[in-house]
Amino acid sequence: MGTVKRKWEFISMYSIGAYESWLSDLAARGLFLKKFGFMSGIFEKAEPAQVEYRIDISKERLSKDRIVMYEDCGWKYIATNKWVHVFCAAAGTQTTEIHTDAREQGFTLVELTRMLSILMPILAILISVEIAGCGYMLFMGGTPFLNIISNGESIMIMAFSMLLLFFVLLKQFFDIRSLKKSLFSGKAINHHASWKKHKYYNNVVMLISLSIIAVSLISQGFLASHIIRAVTNTDRVTMTAQTTLPCLRLSDLENLDDAVAIKEFSVINDAADKDGTVNDIPGDTLFWRSSITTESSLMAMTQFEARESAATSDESYASGLDTKYYKLTFAGMADGTLHDLMKKDLNFYTEEMMLDVNITKMDFDGLDIVYTAKAHDLLFVFASKGNIVVSMQYYGTKNEPELIAALAKKLNEN
């Protein structure tokens, strides 16, 4: 027995003439089919030979008497995959063709086309639902840009894989149907049909599939490692005063020099007596709490959300800064992302608290676009510079121009 070699198939087994001709050409190069599956075939290496291959389609398993009948005519059975059976004969040894009547051969495709005719509309519905799901994920909450940034890869991978699968199956269905028609019209299969164009088509499909897999791997693996690099000297959930962020920190706006960093404000409550007085902690002690969540996606490699707040235990002073930062892959998405951020961040105040929040567009040196808004004692700034988009919610001692100036200075430093 010669060496066994696995070869990724380029020709669909349902393109009968081209597949037969491809197998014959491989045999002429010394590769003889042993087994075949959906995307690959196992070939045995031997001396090159002229071999004719024939494909027979039938839903039923091959019976012994059928194999004997074919053998009696010089056709040796090789392998079966689902409905497809392959036979071969050394050129000149067969006494007759397997199929001598095109119309009768057409009947062998009737069951298959009938099954596919039922399957294709079901598949079309399933894929439409899937695509609609992708559309919903994209437009959910009326913030398509933010959705693309957070779920863009999975939406893209899901939609493209589904469309590709459907396209491949649809083409196969139409190929089989047109072959059936051609057989019924009396035109026999060309057993030496060119398989080159099938190879090109399948190469394109293969390339698209590999691209989808590559995008999927990048978004799963590479991005995971990027998250760790995205914010330096930072573990993923907590910040210290030394944490470096490419954006404003609360300590840039408020004096937190003497603040005590804590994980949760509940620490203060835990230390308090039932009457609310705090044991051993002076009332003017300043506590500072911060956390950061980092994300990464193909549309915004660096993203983080930083939440910082500071307060004294006697509540005589409080300040806070929540920042969302996106370094977009495409600067063209900046404006749309800003609008989505405005919608998302202000939604609570406009929709749930029914507040009338006025958004003002401002021009500011060093920033491309700036929008500001106020709700209660909260100051909102939405700004972009190049491909960087920032949304901030702030309460504290600084006013609007000071906050924007500090942001512009920080963004221009980086």
């Binding site: 039938s58 059928r66 074919y70 005519c73 397997i98 119309r103 051969q105």
Partner: protein, 108 residues
Amino acid sequence: MPFESGPMTEAMYYVLLALINPNHGYQLMNSIKEVSKGRVNMGPGTLYGVLSRMLKEGLIIVIDDDGRRKTYAITPEGKNDLLQEYIRLMSLVEDGENLKGVLEDGNS
């Protein structure tokens, strides 16, 4: 006619004709060649497809199966359909009688 797709195909006609005498696959192919005076050389795939369809339609039955080969025979329904087809073909030929003159003129 029990078969759904219009007139009997040539392959069906010859298989039924050859099965007037029960036979198994390979011999049946030779018998078809013989009965058609060498004109129809039926391949095993075509023969097997026709046999499967006609078995389902009850036009033929398996009368022996030794594990390697099955022997088929025509049923009364099969005989009836074969005769109907023969009559249909005869009337086709009769209707084309006037072509004889055309053919003779063409040959002369």
